[in-house]
Structure formats: structure tokens, C-alpha cells
């Protein structure tokens, strides 16, 4: 499998080399290539700047789209990353952390893992789509995104999302099949399943969406790994503000250690004419803990599933953003965990340097009381340059 993946990745690289550097690539009108190149500098301020771990990551994403007819389309997307710095040097299993995946087909390669260097490639989308009238069928590695709320998504059974992992907005794909029939302008029925030979790894569910009274509602039932899953979600407005929510109840059907759990997310947002944006959200995890260990790091580095969206019982978020000019956007997000007083502080700023070239400055500070002493236990600074093509 590894050699097949290598071959695939290499042939994709070669196929697109003549295309790189052009804007809005369009080859014979049926092929489209786009993506981005990012350079991300991470500073982990363990005690301060003197002892900081520094990492530089060059990240290239290539998206191929092929539209042979109006009904068929095919997509392959690949992510290549070069890590260089103290993380790779000091964490012996860093290559495994980078290569975390549990897919049926192993479509990732660690090309280099030497000293401070790791070079990693991964095909995280590879699917075909068939559209016919109201039908839409997707087969292959894809993102199945059932979330409605903006930060915590208990309805998102397939590709759970971590707010802390801001640099991977596409999320890993699931190897699966999705059959969807649209029954109205904002209503549909959908059956989705990942593909696996282990029944305990299977997530398979039915989703029903309707639009009533200017609200989008959705209901789901199925199984998610070793749980039976029942859920509902909505998106609508109160006055001019957005009002969204999701609830999922998971009931284990195996004799594992898990207990039944209720996960609920509630959010409201409002956008002022000045571009000032305000967003508040709550998340409840009845199986959460008052004081989980390594909460932040496990959320940042681990692979999430719907059960561990947040390890706390209650999580609350307040987020604001503001456009200082069309080129400069700033924002701050605060996540407070009432049971433990833990706090996550996340200031960010995006500057558009040129057309398609953006600079991001991001901080992630996690405050907790590990030894009776309230202090920032994790402090990360990120500088990111992104060129989209």
C-alpha cells in the first residue's frame, strides 16, 4: 500500500508541475487545479521565549477537480507538509502524531523522518460524485459534514472538528459512501456510512433535513463507532441574530467502558453594520470531567471523535471579530470551562498583504490550575503566510 501511495502522490505532483504558478488554473475546461502554499511558524513558549520550541512547517495543498460531464465529477486533494524544528527533534513519535489516521486505505506517506525533519504527504480527499436530478451520490474519501453550530458539533458524527486545530480547516476525510436525495430547496434525506471491516469502527447514519418557518431542522439516527446515535439540530434566527443548536445522545451497544452521553451545543451570533461580529456558544458533555488532564494538548494533537469534542462537562465561548480595514481583520475568542475555571484565550489577526497572500498572527493560551497555581499551562504563538492559487 505504501508504494502505491508513493506512486499516486508522485504522479499527482508531476501532473501538476507545469500548472503551478498560474492563476485560476483551468485546463481544457474540465480539469481544475487549485490549492495553497502555507508557511507556519509555531512557537511553543514552554516557560518563556528562552526555552521556546520552534517549528517551521511548509504546507502545500493541491486540489484536483474533474468534471467529465454534468452528472459526474471526481476530486482528489493532497496535503504535503515539511516539518522542521524542535517538535520533530524532541518528540520521538512525532512522525506518528503527524500521520495519525484510521482509514481503510492508508493513503499517507512519511517520506523523511530524520532528526528535526519530517516530510509527510496525505491524500485526504479522493471521491467520485454522481448527480442526477435530486440525487447526489458520493463514494470515496470525503468530508461528511453534518454540523450546524459554529464551534462544537455533536451532530457531526463523521469528521469531528477541533477549534484549536485552526490550520486544518478541511479536516481529515472519511472513506465512505453518502447517498442524498433533495426533497426541497433546503430539505433532504441522506444516508452515510464509512467503509470498514470492523463493526466497532463503523459509523453509519441517516439524516433528515427540513426547512420550516425560516428554520433549518435536522434529525439523525444511526450508529457511531460503538454507540447508537440519536440527534437533532437547527439553524434559524431570533430577530436579526443567528440561533443554532445541536443535540446528540449516544448509547453504547457494546460492553465497553463508555457510558451513555448527551452532547448539546447552543450558539447565537450577531453582526453589526460596522462589521463588529459577536458570537456566543455553550457546549454540554454529560460524560465530561471537571478537571481533565492535558485537555488542551490532547484536543490539539489527537484525532477527535464526536465523544471527545470537549473533555469538560460545560464549555462556553465568547468570540468577537472586527474588520479594521478590508485588508485587516482582528478577533479574539475566549473559551471558559466553568467547572474548573480553565480558560482558553485565542487572539488572532489576518492581514491581506497582496491579492491571494495573507498573513495570520495567532495566539493560543491555555490557563489552568495544575498545581493549585492558576497560570498559563500552554502558550503557543503562530505566524502563518498563506498564498492561494
Amino acid at each position: 500500500m505504501r508504494s502505491l501511495t508513493c506512486l499516486l502522490v508522485l504522479s499527482m505532483w508531476c501532473a501538476c508541475l507545469p500548472l503551478i504558478g498560474q492563476d485560476s488554473l483551468e485546463v481544457e475546461k474540465k480539469w481544475f487545479v487549485d490549492g495553497y502554499v502555507k508557511d507556519l511558524v509555531t512557537l511553543n513558549l514552554i516557560r518563556g521565549f528562552d526555552s521556546a520550541w520552534v517549528e517551521n512547517q511548509i504546507h502545500h495543498r493541491l486540489n484536483f477537480k474533474w468534471y467529465p460531464s454534468s452528472e459526474f465529477s471526481a476530486y482528489v486533494e493532497i496535503r504535503n507538509r515539511i516539518f522542521w524544528g524542535d517538535f520533530a527533534k524532541n518528540i520521538p513519535i512525532y512522525d506518528q502524531l503527524v500521520d495519525l489516521n484510521n482509514d481503510v486505505l492508508d493513503l499517507s506517506v512519511v517520506w523523511v523522518d530524520e532528526g528535526s525533519w519530517v516530510l509527510h504527504s496525505m491524500i485526504d480527499r479522493a471521491y467520485v460524485e454522481w448527480n442526477h436530478e435530486d440525487w447526489e451520490v458520493r463514494l470515496g474519501r470525503q468530508r461528511i459534514n453534518w454540523g450546524v453550530a459554529l464551534v462544537w458539533n455533536p451532530n457531526d458524527l463523521f469528521n469531528a472538528f477541533s477549534f484549536f486545530d485552526f490550520d486544518y480547516e478541511e479536516r481529515p476525510g472519511s472513506d465512505g459512501i453518502r447517498i442524498k436525495k433533495y426533497t426541497g430547496f433546503a430539505s433532504s434525506v441522506e444516508l452515510a456510512s464509512n467503509i470498514t471491516d470492523d463493526i466497532d469502527e463503523l459509523t453509519s447514519a441517516f439524516l433528515w433535513k427540513i426547512n420550516k418557518g425560516q428554520y433549518d431542522f435536522q434529525f439523525l439516527v444511526g450508529k457511531a463507532l460503538e454507540d447508537l446515535a440519536f440527534g437533532a439540530g437547527w439553524a434559524g434566527n431570533i430577530g436579526d441574530g443567528g440561533f443554532k443548536g445541536e443535540i446528540t445522545y449516544l448509547h453504547p451497544y457494546t460492553s465497553n467502558q463508555n457510558h451513555p452521553v448527551l452532547l448539546a451545543s447552543l450558539s447565537g451570533d450577531y453582526s453589526f453594520a460596522s462589521s463588529f461580529y459577536l458570537h456566543g456558544a455553550f457546549f454540554l458533555n454529560t460524560e465530561g470531567s471537571q478537571n481533565p488532564n492535558f485537555a488542551f494538548l490532547s484536543q490539539r494533537l489527537g484525532r477527535l471523535n464526536v465523544r471527545n469534542l470537549s473533555p469538560y462537562i460545560v464549555s462556553s465561548l465568547l468570540q468577537t471579530s472586527y474588520s479594521f480595514s478590508p485588508l485587516i481583520n482582528g478577533g479574539i475568542a475566549l473559551i471558559y470551562y466553568p467547572g474548573s475555571n480553565a480558560l482558553f484565550l485565542n487572539p488572532s489577526m489576518t492581514v491581506s498583504l497582496k491579492e491571494n497572500l495573507d498573513l495570520d498572527l495567532i495566539g493560543q493560551f491555555f490557563f489552568d490550575t495544575p498545581n493549585e497555581d492558576y497560570k498559563p499551562v500552554n502558550k503557543f504563538l503562530f505566524f502563518r503566510l498563506k498564498w492561494s492559487y
Binding site: 485560476s24 448527480n131 436579526d240 441574530g241 453594520a273
Partner: protein, 243 residues
């Protein structure tokens, strides 16, 4: 048929009321349904940014906008059905319902609001119209019309002046005043072309008057009127499929 219309319009135009003139100009520019491709440039004293979009519309209630440039936002779509707005982001395979308060915000950093672009408010129904007199814009004879918002109308302006070509019913200039009567934005139309058989300005400059060197320019690259799309076209399914 079009030739006939262009002959008969100026004749009956003499007796038209202010609301009829505004309605004719609005219908001519908008069509019952339309497809357009346009370039939007945000211009500032020291920099500018361009974007290109494709847009489909049905009346004032339904619209669908696809961003084709810049590369960062390519494939992103916005759907509006009466009071509901959705945003499709292809990279995360996600549809997000947007709060109505988003309508008053600037469209992607430009000088006009989302509402200006996808028209939640109606230039016909939300205003009372009064003919002020005659004027000349771009060497063309125009009507000057005053629009005052009706009480409770969802608009931010206190007053609008509209200059409309007497012969071809083209909007050639607009001035937008705040509730205290101060001029806030001037909209200048130019580059008159035949767009899908209709004589219309193909360029629109939206100029905030208190900010020298600031403007947003819309240049229509292609327009098709009265295309065969119905209400069903404006769906979450089509948001993902338009290219």
C-alpha cells in the same frame, strides 16, 4: 419588439409618475430573471483588490452568488431566499446559515453592503417617490427623482436621489443620504453598452463621499436576461453545483 419599445417609451414617458419611472428603470436593469458575471474592484488610495462573481436572480427575493476570484474564496456561494441567507464553503463541505444582521454589513470589505448586492430592500416597495424635475447626466436628458423610505422599511438611508435617463430608462446617477440629510454615497454609472439586447451602463462606481480615494467599482462582463430559472433553482443543492 425591442425597437418598438424604445420608440414608444419616450412618448408615454411624458406622463409617467415618479414611481413608474423608477419601476421601469429597475425592471430594465434587473429583468424578471437574470444571470450576470461581474468584476468588483475595491479601490483605496494605496491599494486595490479585485474579485469576480457570477450571480443569478429571480425578482428581488431570490439570488445566488458564486465567487470565482480571488483563489482563496473560489467556489464559495451565497444563497438568498426572501429573508433567509446561506453560505456554502466548499473546502469544509459546509453550509452555514447566516444571521439577517449580516445584510447590513459590507460585502467582503467593499463600500456597499450585502443588502445593496442582493437587495433585501426594494427600491419600489420600501420608498415613496417624487419627481423633482429635469437634469442632464452623461449628456443625456434625465428625470431627477427623490425617494423617501416608508416608516419601518428595512433601509439605512434617509433619502435617495435618482437620475434616470428619459429616453432609455437607465439609472445614471444615485445619491444616498443618511437620516440627518448628509450625503453619504454617490453612485456613478457609465460605459453604456448593449447588455443582452438592453442599453444599460455596464460600469457602476460606488463612492463614499467623505473618504477621498475610496470607491468600489462594479463592471458587468456578461448579462443574460429572462433566463429559464424558477424558484427551485435557488436551493442548497444548486449552491454546491453552480460553476
Amino acid at each position: 419588439m425591442l425597437a418598438l419599445l424604445s420608440v414608444s417609451e419616450p412618448l408615454c414617458g411624458q406622463n409617467l409618475s415618479a414611481v413608474e419611472i423608477v419601476t421601469k428603470a429597475d425592471q430594465k436593469r434587473r429583468g424578471e430573471t437574470s444571470y450576470s458575471q461581474m468584476k468588483i474592484s475595491i479601490v483605496r488610495p494605496n491599494w486595490s483588490r479585485d474579485m469576480e462573481v457570477k450571480a443569478w436572480s429571480l425578482g428581488t427575493d431570490y439570488s445566488l452568488i458564486l465567487i470565482i476570484n480571488p483563489a482563496r474564496d473560489k467556489g464559495t456561494t451565497f444563497l438568498k431566499r426572501t429573508k433567509e441567507i446561506w453560505n456554502w464553503i466548499p473546502s469544509i463541505d459546509r453550509n452555514i446559515k447566516l444571521p439577517p444582521s449580516m445584510m447590513m454589513q459590507s460585502w467582503m470589505g467593499s463600500d456597499f453592503t450585502n443588502d445593496d448586492l442582493i437587495k433585501e430592500s426594494s427600491i419600489i416597495e420600501d420608498y415613496t417617490h417624487r419627481l423633482l424635475g429635469d437634469s442632464v447626466v452623461l449628456d443625456r436628458e434625465c428625470y431627477k427623482i427623490e425617494l423617501i423610505p416608508k416608516p419601518d422599511a428595512p433601509v439605512v438611508w434617509g433619502k435617495i436621489y435618482n437620475w434616470i435617463d428619459k429616453k432609455d430608462f437607465m439609472e445614471l446617477q444615485t445619491e444616498l443620504y443618511d437620516e440627518d440629510g448628509y450625503l453619504v454615497n454617490r453612485v456613478i454609472f457609465s460605459e453604456i453598452e448593449t447588455l443582452d439586447g438592453r442599453l444599460l451602463p455596464s460600469k457602476m462606481e460606488y463612492i463614499p463621499v467623505d473618504k477621498p480615494g475610496h470607491k468600489t467599482v462594479i463592471k458587468y462582463q456578461q448579462v443574460d436576461y429572462d433566463i429559464d430559472i424558477g424558484e427551485n433553482y435557488f436551493s442548497l443543492q444548486n449552491m454546491k453545483r453552480v460553476r
